[in-house]
């Protein structure tokens, strides 16, 4: 493996490193603040919102959330949703990407148009709901998995990557007698790992953040995903109803509870993401061209 980067840091790298570091701090501070809010008492936080560390640390917000909400069910449902949704979406999306990346074949122009059209035109909530109802897919996470299926935007990203793979590689495989299917699985996919991992990450995060369609379609609260459950806590009032709300609300969610809910939704993703970076490895092309 040829190492083309100098071992010593040069001036530019130091400057860039510092600039990026400052940007990172600008990002981190509000998060740090949110975490602090979730473990400090209301009294202390309202007095000193920009504190560096609370004097009284309390985990009551988290224990309350564990007890009072079906947090575990939420995590479980979200993981289920991810485990089903990401592979299914990848299936459709990668298939679409592959077809889009191939040179002209009968029907390609129509296919491309059909696919791109759906990125912009949609029938709307009502016919979708009616369709789901007809197919008995309402009130189920499986239904939403199916509904989400392919993502044209990501398919285009993957298509791009597929197209950037040098033709010589595919040609040489063909000469060696490999079928197109084999070429796809043994050569194209492995070479596309960076973009595939990226899209998997994106799809996973989309599923993780998903709450709107779950709210609309899924009625049983024991099927709710994490975001839905925690959004109930964080967004307890709709401002237009503010004046009416107090009398019809019996639970009070303090700032620390809201922050704890936010931390609980973000933390797993932020911990998981660094692991995926392993796949963004460089130099993956070298071996293929040479070989």
């Amino acid at each position: 493996m040829l190492e083309y980067k100098k071992k010593k840091l040069d001036k530019a790298q130091i400057v860039i490193g510092i600039v990026m570091g400052i940007w990172a701090l600008l990002i981190l501070f509000p998060f740090y603040n949110a975490i602090l809010a979730s473990i400090s008492t209301q009294r202390e936080f309202s007095r000193n919102p920009l504190m560096l560390f609370p004097q009284e640390v309390t985990f009551s917000a988290y224990s309350y959330l564990m007890k009072a909400t079906s947090l575990m069910t939420g995590y479980r449902n979200t993981l289920f949703f991810l485990a089903l949704g990401v592979p299914f979406s990848m299936l459709i999306t990668v298939s679409t990407a592959y077809v889009l990346s191939r040179p002209s074949f009968p029907g390609k122009k129509i296919y491309v148009f059909l696919v791109l059209f759906t990125m912009y035109f949609s029938g709307g909530m009502v016919p979708i709901y009616l369709l789901m109802k007809e197919m008995k897919l309402t009130n189920s996470l499986v239904g939403i998995v199916l509904l989400y299926g392919g993502n044209t935007f990501y398919a285009i990203l993957i298509r791009n990557f597929f197209q950037s793979i040098p033709h010589e590689i595919e040609e040489s495989a063909k000469i060696d007698g490999a079928s197109e299917m084999l070429t796809f699985f043994r050569i194209i996919l492995p070479l596309s790992v960076p973009i595939l991992m990226t899209v998997i990450l994106f799809l996973a995060v989309d599923r993780w953040n998903e709450w709107f369609n779950v709210m609309l379609m899924v009625r049983d609260s024991n099927k709710w995903t994490l975001q839905v459950i925690l959004r109930n806590i964080v967004y307890t009032t709709l401002d237009d109803m503010a004046s009416r709300v107090v009398s019809v609300q019996k639970t009070y969610y303090s700032l620390s509870l809201k922050m704890a809910a936010i931390v609980l939704t973000m933390a797993p993703v932020m911990i998981f993401y660094p692991f995926t970076q392993r796949f963004f490895i460089k130099g993956i092309m070298i071996g293929s061209v040479k070989g």
């Binding site: 209301q42 007890k67 009625r219 307890t236 009398s247 639970t251």
Partner: protein
């Protein structure tokens, strides 16, 4: 060992028998058929069993039913309801945010069930509660088939004062009573705009809260409430269509009195006593500023429940201060001492809709349950719990005996009995009970009810104009102008108010005129 346990088991069965028999006997014969219904409710807690506690069980004993509850959250409430209703997928009973256009559309398309005609005779308590809302009768009378499709939830069934239902959710000024004392200003039950400014100035200058120079904000509130205090005190109808002296409908937004109010607001704002960021408030910022001791006053609703919540919120941030000593309420009146806050308010909020295919027996059962909910007994069961366990009766007086938390307040009854979360917003809203709720601190109830009395004396209250409120003309329903947004824009425009006002009138002349014409043509009384 085995024999003992078998003996115990037999003994336990024998003990259960009388209960079993009693259960079978106490449900009236007409309810011998156990029914099950599905319903939605707002903000139901997670992770609880709604059929496991004494409140539900008491209802169950009387009415023999099961229910499956679906939680509705504020964010998607309207959309979910709309989607479910229009696709024919609604639960048996739906807690619905009333909207005139949708009401007419659903009822005419048969998407929701019409209530039985004999409702008044069969369910008299429910009917009485619905009558108190005022809209039930109006909607029924104006329906092409003279039918009613929704049960409106009444806000005050037993109003604490004679005209509470003409006031409903009064906006009042909450102020730091302790600060006022410290700066030597005495505040009565009513306060004029000029007095607000004087008090706010004193707060900012003398800094009784110890915030440091220039840090104290005299008055803070989101735009709608700022207008409520500073503009509406000049013109009760500043945000409404109403009948003027000639019996013709006009828009209050264009009134000269409104301009006077806006000018007053600008004047006050320029003195620096109003929170300079108020234009960006989305709805809760004023609570935070007041609770953390930065701001000395804000405007908000003053139902007993709201006052209680504000007191609690303040306590949480200031555990060493007694809220009853620190917070005072005052009604904002115009310079002439007249209160102009509430006009055309309706004594209901949200309603209950029923699935069009619901069978009659189920509907009858649900209506019977709701009928009981509307009785004093029913309300007491819901809000106080079980007699002998959570409260005792001292003649007419209720004495709450349930547990208290570490701050000395009664624990939340919803924590004890989760089914409370369902029952407390059906047909009768909890505002009603909160005004006489013995578990709320005395100070809270007294202050809240006092505000009603003050407004009665200071206002010229009139019955709501249902014809206008429930007018379904196309132009009126689509009327886009939000006067609070427009006023806020004027205040911060940096321009002279008169110039802004002229611009505002000319730009929107046609829009307003269309609605006014529609109203005058459509309402002929």
């Amino acid at each position: 060992m085995k024999r003992t346990s078998r003996l115990v088991a037999i003994l336990m069965c024998l003990m259960m028998l009388p209960f079993g028999i009693a259960t079978a006997e106490s449900a009236p014969a007409q309810y011998s058929n156990r029914i099950s219904f599905s319903a939605t409710s707002i903000n139901l807690p997670d992770n609880v069993n709604f059929m496991d506690d004494a409140i539900y069980k008491t209802f169950d004993k009387m009415f023999n039913f099961e229910y499956q509850l679906t939680n509705i959250t504020w964010e998607t409430w309207d959309e979910r309801d709309r989607l479910w209703i229009t696709s024919g997928d609604m639960p048996d009973m739906l807690f619905w945010n009333f909207n005139l256009k949708d009401y007419k559309s659903y009822s005419s398309q048969g998407l929701v069930k019409a209530l039985p005609d004999d409702l008044e005779t069969k369910y008299p308590n429910l009917a009485a509660a619905m009558k108190k809302t005022g809209v039930a009768d109006y909607l029924k009378a104006n329906d092409p088939d003279q039918k009613l499709y929704m049960i409106p939830n009444v806000i005050y069934l037993k109003p604490p004062t004679e005209t509470t239902d003409l006031i409903i959710d009064p906006k009042v000024l909450y102020y730091r009573k302790d600060w006022a004392k410290a700066v030597g200003i005495e505040v009565g039950d009513t306060i004029t705009v000029d007095q607000i400014v004087a008090l706010a100035k004193a707060f900012a200058e003398k800094d009784p809260g110890g915030n440091g120079a220039g840090k104290t904000i005299g008055f803070t509130a989101p735009p709608a409430y700022v207008d409520n205090a500073f503009v509406q005190s000049s013109n009760a109808f500043y945000d409404q269509f109403y009948k003027d002296a000639n019996g013709k409908y006009v828009w209050g937004g264009f009134d000269d009195a409104t301009l006077a109010g806006v000018k007053k607001l600008k004047e006050c704002f320029d003195t620096g006593v109003i929170d300079p960021d108020y234009y960006a408030f989305k709805g809760k910022e004023h609570y935070e500023k007041f609770d953390s001791g930065i701001a000395g006053m804000f405007v908000d609703g003053a139902s007993a429940a709201n006052v209680d919540e504000r007191f609690n919120s303040f306590s949480r941030s200031n555990p060493s201060i007694d809220p009853a000593q620190a917070i005072g309420l005052a009604t904002v009146v115009g310079d002439d001492g007249v209160y102009r806050g509430e006009q055309n308010v309706t004594n209901f909020w949200a309603g209950l809709l029923f699935n069009p295919d619901i069978d009659d027996e189920k509907l009858d059962r649900i209506l019977s349950i709701l009928d009981y909910v509307c009785t004093e007994e029913g309300q007491r069961l819901i809000h106080c719990g079980i007699e002998g366990v959570d409260y005792t009766m001292n003649g007419d007086q209720i004495e709450i005996t349930r547990a208290k938390d570490e701050n000395g307040n009664f624990i939340n009854i919803a924590d004890e009995y989760p089914s409370y979360n369902f029952f407390f917003t059906k047909a009768v809203l909890p505002d009603d009970w909160s005004a006489r709720d013995p578990s709320l601190p005395e100070a809270v109830r007294t202050m809240a009810v006092n505000m009603f009395h003050v407004k009665e004396k200071a206002a010229q209250l009139v019955a709501p104009d249902y014809a206008q409120i429930l007018f379904d003309g196309e132009k009126k329903l689509k009327f886009p102008l939000k006067i609070d947004d427009l006023i806020t824009g004027m205040i911060f425009s940096g321009n002279d108010i008169d110039a802004e006002w002229t611009n505002f009138k000319t730009t929107n002349q046609q829009t307003v005129q269309d609605v006014v014409d529609e109203l005058n043509a459509g309402i002929t009384q």
